[in-house]
């Protein structure tokens, strides 16, 4: 093998090493960016779960029978028909 060919191979190998080193750095950077995105997504998920739980509980509190009865009687002036009522057209 001539010296030129040997130098060529060495340069090719050196270029390969350089390229893979840059790719490793790039891949590491990408992993970290993706990890950071994942963390943000998990935080958003947690926040939405918390919101979902809060809304579920709020709906439940507002739709609870005692609450509905209170609104019906106190705000809307409704009353429970203890005796049957006759509807007169």
């Amino acid at each position: 093998m001539s010296d030129l060919a040997r130098i060529g191979i060495w340069m090719l190998l050196a270029a390969g090493v350089m390229a893979s080193a840059i790719l490793v750095v790039d891949a590491t950077h990408e992993v970290r960016s993706l990890h950071s995105e994942l963390q943000a997504a998990i935080t958003a998920h947690d926040e939405q779960m918390k919101e979902r739980s809060r809304l579920l509980l709020e709906r439940s509190a507002r739709a609870a029978l005692p609450e509905v009865e209170q609104v019906a009687t106190e705000q809307l002036g409704m009353k429970f028909p203890h005796a049957a009522l006759r509807l007169e057209p």
Binding site: H35, D46, K50, L56, A63, L65, P81, A83, A84, L85
Partner: protein, 572 residues
Amino acid sequence: MNWRHYAVVVMFLATTGWLGWHVISLSFALSYSDPEFLRRQGDNRSVRTEEISAQRGVIRDRWGEPLAVSTPAYNVFVDPSMKIPPRQRWPELASLLGMEVSDLASRFEDQKRKYVLLKRRVSWDEMQSIKTAKIEGVNFSTLYRRYYPAGEVAAHVVGAAGFVEESSEEVGREGVESSFDDHLRASHGKKLVLRNARGENVRELQYISAPKEGRDLTLAVDLRLQYIAYRELKAAVVGHKAEAGTAIILDVRSGDILALVNQPSYNPNGGIPAGAAGVRNIAITDRIEPGSTAKVFTAIAGMETGRYTPESMFHTAPGYITVRGKTVKDPRNYGDLTLRGVLAKSSQVGIIKLALDLERDAVYRTLVRAGVGEPVGSGLPREYAGLISPEGLRSDLVRINFAYGYAFNLSALQLARAYLTLARSGNKPPVSIVRSEGSAAGEQVFDAVHTRTVLEMLESVTEAGGTAHAAAVPGYRIAGKTGTARVLTNGKYDDKKHVALFAGVAPLTDPQLVTVVVIWGPSRGLSGGGVVAAPVFSRIAERSLRLLGIPGDAPAPMTAESVVIPADRSST
């Protein structure tokens, strides 16, 4: 530069060289003798196992209203082997966590520990305020805590879940949280993460196990009926200064438990109070002798012989009867009563005469077919199966005791199922706390003609002259039976302590609901089922029937009150 300076430089270079040589030679030696050593040491300082949280299933009522929800909570922790928060920020951190600085400092003493919990289960808002402060070395892990929106109203059905020791997974302890724990339970996953020097996660290395979310569960109960039953029961237990009470509503078509409430109760949001009254689900765990509510089954046993009809006559004069030396009395001398009258007046003498005229095991067999001694299998934990034995049937005393509801026992839920069987024309269905789809297929244990006849007889109980006219519901035909049982204390019946019962079916024309009310130890002078339990039944049934839109089957009594629909709306 004199020779001293040269000497210092030479010594410095010699020492550095010597140290450097040792470090390099040690590294080489280690990499050959124990190649994993350095990696292990590095990993110990930067690789951690972390939990991936999963959520326990939501428990809902039959219309989707939440009864148990898991809300996110956070554990605040520090990994002293990686990073301790800077000392100058300890006062700020202590104030955010609501603890003393000295307490905080003591937790950082052991710097080899990898997990020091600073505060358990803080809310999202608390977590955010700590996070915003950006204190290095403070970490958070997510977990979920259970919240019960209906609180004490549904406590005995839903139960409660709690954390076991240091685990972050909740385990069902009572109610369906316990009996359906496998269905609801979430298992957290695990992953390996890489942390930087500040203790922050920079990379996820490997998933060790995947998280498994818990599955949701839809119960049979209707939260609205649950509220109604709870309110009325509580008012009665407080009003009569009673020891305890239970009310159960069953759906006739499906056999579903629409409501099951007890007094006393507890708030599961505060955890399960250890050993406190109110935790036990007395509707299914406590035994009762059903007293006169069992007389209907004696009446069925009589009709099954073909020799008795609702109009069969019984001579109850002089108001008492003596069997094998034991005298049993009616409240007064009722004279001649039909079988219908015997049930309406709840005459002991009449029912005893009927029982003594039947085969020895006739009433026993009827009770067993009604489900006494057989677990209901509702899906709630720790059900009492009831106790009835044919062993004493040679004795007339045992026979007559069976006839009016003594010498055997059952749970309130079993009593409700027995009446459900009557309401379903003799078909005994499975009774479930989990919502069932469609109508339940049961086992035919009584002739539909007999159950229909007996229910029609029971209507007279709630009419004027019956023992429970207080159980009547305007606009509806109600069939029901009162019971007042004495309580067995230390092997003897206590004459002063009673259990008041009422079991009813509504509406009679097309049965939809079976309701049972049991009140233990009323102590304000009144103790009869007709005055203590029947009014509770009436109020629960009235509200429930109207809420469910079940049409009335009786001409409603007219009142002076009437509603005039304005002309502009009457045409629509």
